[in-house]
């Protein structure tokens, strides 16, 4: 231990494996002193600029804020606030493209500076040594300081480390080419940086503080040495220029010859690393009371006229930075946030800079090599020689390509720091880092999925157990009651049902209600099977249902009134809900009917043709009714909004949405109908020719109807917006687009039906022999149908019509009976 300390004090630096020497390009930007940008006319301050949780918003739209006023307050662990970078008005709080490789929108406060740049009252401290530990931590926390080197880890968490810290390392290496922000900061503000270090020393009390600076920054080294002269516990250590010596783990290895354990953090081995910029921010916060609202950004690259370092307010659009430094873009320009090795390209220059933005690089095509096409890996291992973590990049690459995630983890993929050294040296120009990043996300996702699946399983099992327990309890309760009573209750339920039926019978949605009842009955039966004689619950449920139905009826009444009187939004929403419910029911009824049509003939066929025909007819009738109900539902929907539209755009949009939903359903029904068309004949054909023909006819008819309904729905949608057009062009355009898309779908669906029809006809003509041998009197009809089946759609239609008429009668009778 003492030996190590001695070695460090002697100036020993160790080496890490690998590393590369990309062209430095630092002289572009490190010769000029730091300039201050003119105030931009817009500041986009992202709420989250660090690792951790968002803060809680403190301001609202339209509010006037002063420079340095907090916009958020820390809400959860690891959350740090952001502050207004200048005085002005909050014009908006909205998601804006973020300073992240994905540019996914992040909630941001948009401030329009008023030009006064007026500060809030600042709480200065002349002598921080008098402040307590907690006071200092609080100042750092409230100043919104997070790591400014790259990751953006909240500084107050690090500064409050409970583990004993032996070495405080200051990362002033700045190994990325082009970037000189830390270099010029140390040249011009060495004293402040050292004061920041001393605050950290006060907080953490390390044995030694080592400042690592690459040997390509002699001025910074000299400035820092001079500023740190009075403090014997600060050592300025010169490290060789090799990329990526500024990586946290690499720097620790360089300066102390220790390695951070793979799954640990530097504090585990008694080390803490801070970035120079962060320490400067800490000094500003403690001495001046200034929160973190600006930082030094290197604006550089060959397309920049005046490359250099600028003080930029957080939230300044990159465009403003580029414009102020002079920018003449080349074709296929890329703008990189960060350095050329680890930075990311931006999809837009309208992104505000954040606490971690150290460089904006706008290179031309000569200075940075354009990525060539990826070639085959020749296993040359240049990547392994360059890897600072001693990984085997080319093995990882094979595994990443073949998605062998277990192998990737075995080969320590997660120790990759994505420094890009491997991809830099790869002669085959394989984008290795990109492969690793994707693989990492995939692995993390798989792990998350696994956890989620386990939890889902747990919850599923818990639910199963609960249901079983409840059932058991119910049974136990039931045992105590006499069985006779349950029969009584049953009757009551039946009565309730009957009452409900009578009540709802007056409407024009008879079939729908009937269907609902049938369903309810079916459900009840099911329920009884599951939970024998749980009459109490059943009764309760029935009552509930009744209530729901009453509620709906009431709503439908209001719906009717809606057509006459001008109504508010809520009502239309309610109407929409009802309409939707109706539509759904109708669709279900339709489905049922269809199922009936293709089920019944199968079962009935061997017994009696006539019966089958009748059944089919009934089914058809049902389908017809259902279709009608559907149409009506659609009409109500399309009518209701029409009366309102002049009053309200929103309603129209809602109506359109509903219509769309319905159209979708209709399309689905249509598809199903088609399926029955194509299925039914196939199964029936060998048995009975006629049935097939009838079924086909029915299906065709249904398809037609459905198509018609669909068309109407589409018309409705396309008409409504037209009436609105003066109000809103955009909406109309959207609606039109939707309508168009739907029309396309419908057309396709129709095509499909047509395709299936030829098949049916083939089946028809293929089966005549078996039909001829049939002695049933209906065979006359079959004979008439079958020989000319190919050209005889008409007859089938006629037959279907007759059947339909019969079915209607039968159904009437049936209704009367029930």
């Amino acid at each position: 231990m003492d030996k190590l300390l001695e070695q460090i004090k002697k100036g020993t630096v160790w080496a890490f494996p690998g590393g590369i020497h990309p062209p430095q390009q630092k002289s572009l930007s490190n010769s000029a002193s730091i300039t201050r940008l003119p105030l931009p006319d817009k500041l986009i301050v992202a709420l989250k600029q660090h690792i951790g949780a968002n803060g809680k918003l403190l301001v609202e739209k339209g509010q006037y804020v002063l420079k340095g006023q907090p916009l958020t307050e820390p809400a959860a662990n690891w959350s740090v606030p952001v502050h207004a970078p200048s005085s002005g008005v909050v014009t908006d709080i909205a998601p804006m493209p973020s300073a992240h490789p994905s540019a996914l929108p992040e909630l941001s406060v948009i401030i329009e500076p008023d030009g006064k740049d007026e500060w809030v009252a600042l709480n200065k401290n002349k002598n921080p040594a008098e402040l307590s530990h907690d006071e200092l931590i609080n100042i750092i926390h409230q100043a919104g300081i997070s790591g400014m080197g790259g990751a953006g880890f909240p500084t107050y968490v690090k500064a409050d480390t409970k583990q004993p810290i032996e070495f405080l390392i200051v990362n002033a290496v700045e190994c990325e080419p082009y970037i000189t922000a830390d270099d010029v900061l140390m040249r011009e503000h060495a004293k402040e940086v050292i004061q920041g270090i001393e605050i950290m020393q006060q907080l953490l009390n390390p044995t030694l503080c080592i400042v690592g600076i690459e040997d390509n920054k002699p001025e910074a080294i000299a400035a820092m040495k001079q500023a740190a002269e009075h403090n014997s516990k600060i050592i300025i250590q010169t490290v060789p220029t090799i990329y990526p010596s500024g990586g946290e783990k690499q720097l620790i290895k360089l300066l102390t010859n220790r390695e951070v354990p793979s799954i640990g953090i530097p504090a585990d081995i008694g080390i803490l690393v801070h970035n120079t910029g962060t320490l400067f921010a800490v000094q500003q916060a403690v001495y001046e009371g200034k929160p973190l609202i600006e930082r030094i950004v290197t604006v550089t690259g060959n397309t920049i006229h005046k490359p250099g370092n600028v003080w930029a307010l957080l939230g300044t659009e990159i465009k403003h930075l580029l414009d102020c430094q002079g920018f003449s873009p080349v074709p296929q320009q890329s703008v990189v946030m960060g350095g050329p090795m680890m930075g990311f390209t931006l999809p837009t220059v309208r992104i505000g800079i954040v606490k971690t933005t150290n460089c904006i690089l706008a290179p031309d095509h000569k200075e940075l090599a354009e990525p060539g096409p990826e070639k085959a890996c020749i296993r040359c291992s240049a990547c392994a020689d360059a890897c600072p973590a001693s990984l085997l990049p080319q093995q990882l690459q094979w595994f990443a390509k073949s998605k062998e995630y277990d192998k990737l983890q075995e080969h320590n993929l997660f120790d990759c720091i994505e420094c890009g050294a491997c991809a830099y040296v790869c002669p085959s120009e394989i984008p290795l880092v990109q492969y690793y990043r994707i693989a990492k996300v995939e692995i993390k996702e798989q792990q998350a999925d696994k956890i989620k699946a386990d939890r889902a399983k747990e919850r599923f099992d818990a639910r199963k157990e609960r249901l079983e327990r409840e059932q058991e309890e119910r049974q136990n309760r039931h045992k105590r009651k006499p069985a006779a009573k349950s029969a009584d209750e049953k009757q009551k339920v039946a009565e309730a049902l009957a009452r409900v039926k009578n009540k709802s019978d007056n409407g024009d949605e008879k079939s729908a209600v009937a269907a609902a009842i049938a369903r309810a009955k079916a459900k009840k039966q099911q329920g009884e099977e599951l939970e024998p004689d749980n009459s109490e619950v059943a009764k309760e449920r029935a009552l509930r249902k009744e209530q729901a139905r009453k509620y709906k009826e009431q709503k439908s009444q209001t719906d009717e009134s809606a057509e006459t009187a001008p109504v508010d939004d809520k009502k239309s929403a309610v109407a929409a809900a009802i309409a939707r419910a109706k539509a759904k029911k109708a669709a279900q009824a339709l489905d049922n009917a269809e199922q009936a049509t293709n089920e019944e003939p199968q079962s009935a066929a061997p017994v009696d043709d006539k019966k089958a025909a009748v059944a089919a007819a009934i089914a058809r009738a049902k389908a017809k009714k259902a279709a009608k109900a559907l149409e009506e539902a659609e009409q109500t929907v399309s009518e209701a909004p029409q009366s309102d539209t002049p009053a309200d755009d929103k309603k129209a949009a809602v109506a359109a949405a509903i219509a769309r939903a319905k159209a979708k359903k209709a399309a689905k029904a249509l598809e199903e109908a088609e399926q029955t068309v194509s299925e039914a004949p196939q199964t029936d054909a060998p048995v009975d020719d006629k049935k097939a023909a009838v079924a086909a006819a029915i299906a065709r008819a249904k398809a037609k109807k459905a198509a018609k309904a669909l068309e109407e729905a589409e018309q409705a949608t396309s008409e409504e917006p037209q009436s609105d057009t003066p109000v809103d062009d955009k909406k109309a355009a959207v609606a039109a687009a939707i309508a168009r898309a739907k029309a396309k779908k419908a057309a396709k669906a129709l095509e499909d039906t047509e395709q299936t029809q030829p098949q049916e006809l083939q089946v028809d003509s293929a089966a005549p022999k078996s039909a001829e041998s049939n002695t049933d009197d209906s065979s006359v009809l079959i004979n008439a149908d079958k020989p000319k089946s190919a050209d005889d759609k008409k007859k089938a239609a006629v037959a279907a019509a007759i059947a339909r008429a019969k079915a209607k009668k039968l159904q009437k009778e049936g209704n009367n009976q029930s």
Partner: protein, 352 residues
């Protein structure tokens, strides 16, 4: 103007695959010059034949595999194979020898395994072994150094020999190869091996005119040529030092031990290092990245094993030279070597 998006890093070392391969080919030039000087222009004819053959085969295979032809050809790996193969076979071997070799190396050894990067074996060496095993007469028909040939043959005659098996005056290759003493000339390695088998000592054997004081006449210079090229490759950081160094050191140590143990039957270190294809093997063949070990520790083991095997086969085996066999045999062991020599990742184990 639209912004372009790309994945980091946004810079590249400018070391491309093509440049790498062409550099290696360029590094063969000293050895090539030496070989032409001592063994005639037949080498150049073989070289041209080989280059044409591999280009045709590579292009054909890429067409069959429905992949772009030019990117595969232009990476230069096939040409490098051609150069190595042309330098390994006897300069006046019939034309079909080199064509068969190219066919085998490109189509079977490389492309059937999935193309560049997927071949288990060094293509040039696999082809060489195939040819040696299938056509031992043609493959051992090395000419003696030009100075020792009775009637030196010109370029036209060499061309004729390669394509028609006879010179203009009707001599066959065997007749041309007949040396000053009227005996068929074998390579120095072969001669020593045969002589020792016949009971002669090495010193006696080395009295023959095909030797100079170090090793075989001409062969020593060819090896020195390849050594020079290899040193350039090391200097340009195109190959790592691990394989050639461990290869040569192992071979030197083994031969030195052998010489000390039995000076009469062992030709000594210098002879081993400057005979046959030792230097070409050390710098150009064993270092083929695709089929070599990939970790630094692994490379040391890989090179050492090849060196050891070469010595063993040269001394105790049935073939006079053993570069190809040794390289191929150790190629088989590469996955195993790689598996057991993985470097310790940062932060794993050995952490205080």
């Amino acid at each position: 103007m639209k912004l372009t998006m790309a994945s980091s890093p946004h810079n590249h070392s400018h070391k491309s695959l093509t440049r790498l391969m062409l550099s290696v080919i360029a590094a063969c030039i000293p050895g090539l010059i030496a070989q032409v000087f001592f063994f005639g222009t037949g080498v150049l004819i073989q070289l041209v034949l080989a280059l044409v053959a591999v280009s045709v085969f590579e292009a054909a295979i890429m067409l069959i595999r429905k992949r772009p032809v030019w990117p595969a050809l232009s990476d230069g790996s096939a040409w490098l194979t051609a150069v190595l193969l042309a330098l390994s076979i006897p300069p006046l071997a019939p034309w079909w020898i080199i064509v068969i070799g190219c066919l085998f190396s490109i189509v079977i050894v490389k492309q059937l395994y999935g193309g560049l990067g997927f071949n288990l074996f060094n293509p040039a060496m696999a082809a060489y072994v195939l040819l040696l095993v299938s056509f031992p007469v043609q493959m051992t028909a090395w000419l003696p150094v030009t100075d020792l040939i009775n009637t030196p043959i010109g370029f036209a005659d060499q061309l004729r020999l390669i394509f028609t098996d006879f010179t203009a005056s009707g001599f066959s290759l065997d007749q041309v190869r007949a040396g000053v003493d009227g005996l068929t000339m074998a390579t120095p390695l072969d001669t020593v091996k045969t002589d020792i088998a016949h009971g002669l000592t090495v010193t006696e054997s080395m009295q023959k005119p095909i030797f100079n004081e170090w090793a075989g006449l001409g062969w020593a210079w060819v090896n020195l040529g390849f050594l020079a090229g290899g040193l350039y490759l090391l200097k340009a950081k195109i190959i790592n030092w691990h394989i050639p160094v461990s290869f040569i050191v192992t071979l030197a140590v083994c031969s030195a031990i052998g010489y000390i143990a039995s000076p009469g039957t062992e030709p000594g270190t210098l002879f081993h290092l400057l005979s046959g294809a030792t230097m070409m093997g050390a710098f150009f063949i064993a270092t083929d990245p695709v089929s070599a070990a990939t970790t630094n520790k692994g490379r040391l083991i890989y090179g050492a094993l090849i060196g050891l095997l070469i010595y063993l086969i040269r001394t105790f085996g049935g073939f006079p030279d053993a570069i190809a066999f040794s390289v191929l045999l150790i190629n088989i062991a590469v996955p195993l070597i790689d598996y057991y020599t993985q470097p310790r990742t940062y932060g794993h184990g050995a952490v205080k």
